[in-house]
Assembly symmetry: D5
C-alpha cells in the first residue's frame, strides 16, 4: 500500500517532513472516533514515500479500533519497513479527551533537528 | 488509583506527553482555589499510565490544600511509583496570583527533547 | 453574599465588564468537573457589584452539580436581583467535552456594544 | 436520535452555541474523507438539544457520502425538526481542498449577534 | 469553463464562501508575477458554482497580464454570468509590492454579513 | 496640567485615539498597585489634547488610591473639561486580580465606530 | 505627483484598500523621526490612484516636520483633490511614543464597512 | 523583606519560575517611570522564596530611581543572598523607550533549560 | 542567471537569510500548480547572491513540472555552484495537498543556528 | 557619537539586548528607502552603550545609501570599537522587497544563548 520512489539525491543528507492534519481512528475501548495530526520526518536512504499513497495509508485507520501508543508505533514500523530511512520520527498529536491532550513521539535512529 | 497498562513496544525509546489543562487545588494558606495546567512527559519502561485513571487522579486534588511545589513533587513521586519510567518530567503552570505567574518543573532521570 | 456599592456616577451611561477565567462547577449527570470563563457585562443603575464578593460568589459553584444552561441563567438572576442594572449580559464559555465547545449567553435588557 | 430536554427558562431570550471541531464525512464524488468544524447557534423555544446525542448525531455522517451544501442544510433541517427553536444558525468550515477553504452558513429565522 | 450545479435548497437564504489562497497572475506593466487570496461569498439563487471548475477557472489567470482592479471585476462578472446569485462578494488580497498591501472588494447586490 | 492645541481641521469629523499601556494607580482598599491600559478615543471640536501633557496627567495617578470606576470617570471628566470634544470614549483595561480581569468603558456623546 | 488612471468599472460600487507599512516623517517639535502605517480605503468615482505614485507621494514626508493630525488630514486632502472619490478613509497608526500609541482616522463622505 | 521557606524536596534537582508582569521603577536620568516584566528562574538548594514577599519586594522599586542594568543585578544579588540557590536567572524585559525595547539577563551558576 | 557580488567582509563568519514567500512551480504528475516558501540561509565565502537575480531565478520554475524533492535539491545545487558558500541551507515549505503539508530541508556543510 | 558608561558589574557574565524597530536607510542602487529591525545582543566587558546615543547613532543611517550586508557589518564594527564587549551579535531583519524578506546576522566572539 505504501508506495516509494527512488531518492533523487541518495548521497545527500536531507530531511523530508509531511504533516497530515486529518488523521482519524477509533478508540477500541469506547468505540468513539479519535482525531490526530500525524507528523512524519525522515532522512531518506534509497527510497522516499510517495505522498498520495501515504494519504491513502493513513485513511486505512479511519474505522480501525486502536490505541494512541499502538497507532504511532504501527505507523513507524510500516514506514520503516517500506522505506528503510537513515532515521525517522513519527509524532501524533491528539485532540482533547477528558480535558487532556496527548502526544506520542517515536524516533528510529538518531533524529537531527529541522 | 493510578492504573497502568503494559508498554506495547517496551524495547523502543519513545515519548508520551499528556497535557491536562483543568487542574485545580486549594491554597493551604488562603483557602482560595488554585488553577494549573499539568504537563506529564515520560519515556515508558514496562508500564504506561492509563489516561482515564490519570484524569481521576488529578481530580483528587480538587479540594486539597497544598502548595505549588508540593503538588508538583507529589505528582512526580506518585507517577514514578506507579510506572517506574526511564525518565519523566512534570511541569505545572499556575494562573496569575498577585500579578505573578509561576511554573514548577520536576525532572526524574535525564529528560530528552520532544 | 453578593455585595454592592453605590454607582459613583449614577447619571452616566457606562459599561463595566468582569471576566472570570477560573470558574468550575460539577456536571450533575457524570459528576465530572466542568470549567468555564464567565463574562459579566452591565450598565449600572444605582449599584455596582463588589469584585471580591463576586469572586467568592462564583466559588460557591465549585462543588455544585448544575447544567451549563442552568448555571448561566442562575448567575444572571442572582446578579440582577443584587444590582438591578439597566442592562446585563452573562456569557459562559465552557472547555471541550466530547469534542464540542459550548457557550451560553443571557441578555437582560437591551445590551449595548462595548 | 437527536434528544432534547425542556428549556429551563423558556420565557427568556438567550443564545446557546455548540462548536464541534471533529466532524467528518465522505465526498460522494471522490470517496475521499472531508473534515469540518460545525457551529450550531440557536435561541431555544421550548426545547434544547442534549449535548451527547448531538455528538452521536454528528458521528452518523462519518462514512456517508454527501456534499458540503447538502450536509449543512440537512443538519439544519434535522435540528429544526427536533427543537423548533426561535432561530438557528448552522455553519460548516471545511479544510482546504485544491487550495480552497469553504464555509457554508444556513440561517433559519432572524439570527441575533453573539 | 465555470460549471454549476442546481442549488439543493433554492428556497432558502444561505451563504457559501470559498477562499482560494493560491491565486497568481502577471502585472501587465512590469511582467512580474502577482499573488493574491481570492474570497468568494454569495447567496445562491438557482445555481451553485462547482468547486473544481472554480479552481481551474482561477488558474487561467496564471500567465495573464492584468491589473488588480480588472482581475477582481472580471471574476465578479464571470461568476455573476455563470450563477446569477442573489448577491455576491469578491475580495482579492494581494501580497506586498513596494511596501504596500492592497485589497479590492466588489459587491453585486446587497451583501449580508457572515 | 492637560494642555491643548487648536484642532487643525475644526470643520472635519475625524477620530483621534491614544492608547496608554503603562497606567498605574493604587487600590484604596488594599494599598496594592493596580495596572491598566487606558484608551482614549475622541472627535475633536476646537481643541486637541497635547500628547506629552496627557502622559504626565496619567502619571499623576501613580501613587493615588482610587477605584477602577472612579479613575475611569475622573479621566473622562478631566479630558472633557479640557477639550470639550464632540464625543469621547475612555476605556480602562485592568490586569487580573483574584482571577478576574475588568474593563470600564465611559462614553460622552454618541461614539462612532473606528 | 499623485497619478491616477480611469476607474475600469465606473458604474460599480466597490472598495480599494492600500496599506502602507513603511511611512516615516519627522516630529516638528523634537526633530525625532516618526513611524506609521497609512491605510487608504476608498470607493472610486472616475479615477483610481496609481500605486507607484502613491508610494513616491508617501516618501515625500520622509524628512518633513509635521504633526500626526496634520499629516493625516493633508494626505486626505491631497488624495481627495487628485481622485475625487465617492468616499475615502485615511487612517494613520503611529508607533509608541512615551508609552502611548496613537491612531488618527479621517473620513470624507459616508464610509462603507469592508 | 524577602521571606523564604524550606525546600520541600531538597535532594531533587528541579526548577521554579516566577514571572512578574507588573514591575515598575523610575529612570534616574529623566524621572520618568519605567515598566518591566521580571522573570525569576532558579533551582532551590535549602530555601525557596515565598511568593507574597517576592511581590512586596518588587514593589519597593516603584518610586526608586535606578537604571535597567542596576535593577537587574540588584534583584539577582538580593535573591541570591536570601536563598543561596544552586543556580538562578533573572531577566528583565522593558517596554519601548525611543523606539527601542531592552532586555537584561543575569545568570548566577550554570542555568539549565526549562 | 544567478548573479553574485563580492562578500564585503570575507574574513568574518556571518549569516545571510532570504525568505521568498511567492514561489510556484507545477506538479509533473497532475499538471497542477504547487506553491511554496523558499528559505535560503548561508554563510558567504567570497561571494554573495544578488537579491534581484535570486528573485528572477526563482521565477524560472513558474511553469516547470518538477517534484518537491527535485526542486529543493536543484536550487541547492545551483546556488552552491554560483556562490560556493561555507555552508548553505535550503528549506521549501509547501501548501497543503490532500490534507498534508510538506517541508524539504537540504543542508550543504555544517549549518550554524541563526 | 556612540557614548558608553562603565559596566556596573564588570566581573559578572550577563547579557544586554536592545531591539530597535524603527531603523531606516536608503538602497544605493534604487534610491528607495529600506526598513529594518536591528537587534543588538552583547555581554559587556568594561563598557555598556548608552541607550539614547545608540538611538541617535542608528538615525545617522536615515538618508545614507548602503546595502543590507554593509549596514549590518558597519554597525557591528562601530559598536565593537566603542564598547569592546566580550561577545556581540547584530541582526538586521528587513521588510519585504520583491516578495523576499532578508535577515543578516553578524557574531563577534562566541555568542551565548539568551
Amino acid at each position: 500500500m505504501l508506495e516509494t520512489f527512488p531518492n533523487p539525491t541518495p548521497g545527500r543528507d536531507y530531511v523530508i517532513e509531511h504533516i497530515a492534519g486529518e488523521f482519524t481512528s477509533v478508540c477500541p475501548k469506547t468505540s468513539q472516533p479519535d482525531f490526530a495530526t500525524i507528523t512524519l520526518r525522515y532522512c531518506p536512504a534509497d527510497l522516499c514515500v510517495e505522498l498520495k499513497s501515504l494519504k491513502l495509508y493513513y485513511q486505512t485507520y479511519r474505522n480501525r479500533g486502536i490505541f494512541y501508543e499502538a497507532v504511532t508505533n504501527q505507523i513507524a514500523d510500516d514506514l520503516n519497513a517500506a522505506m528503510k530511512p537513515r532515521w525517522m520520527q513519527i509524532r501524533s498529536d491528539w485532540t482533547t479527551r477528558g480535558g487532556i491532550r496527548s502526544t506520542i513521539t517515536v524516533n528510529l535512529g538518531e533524529v537531527l533537528p529541522a
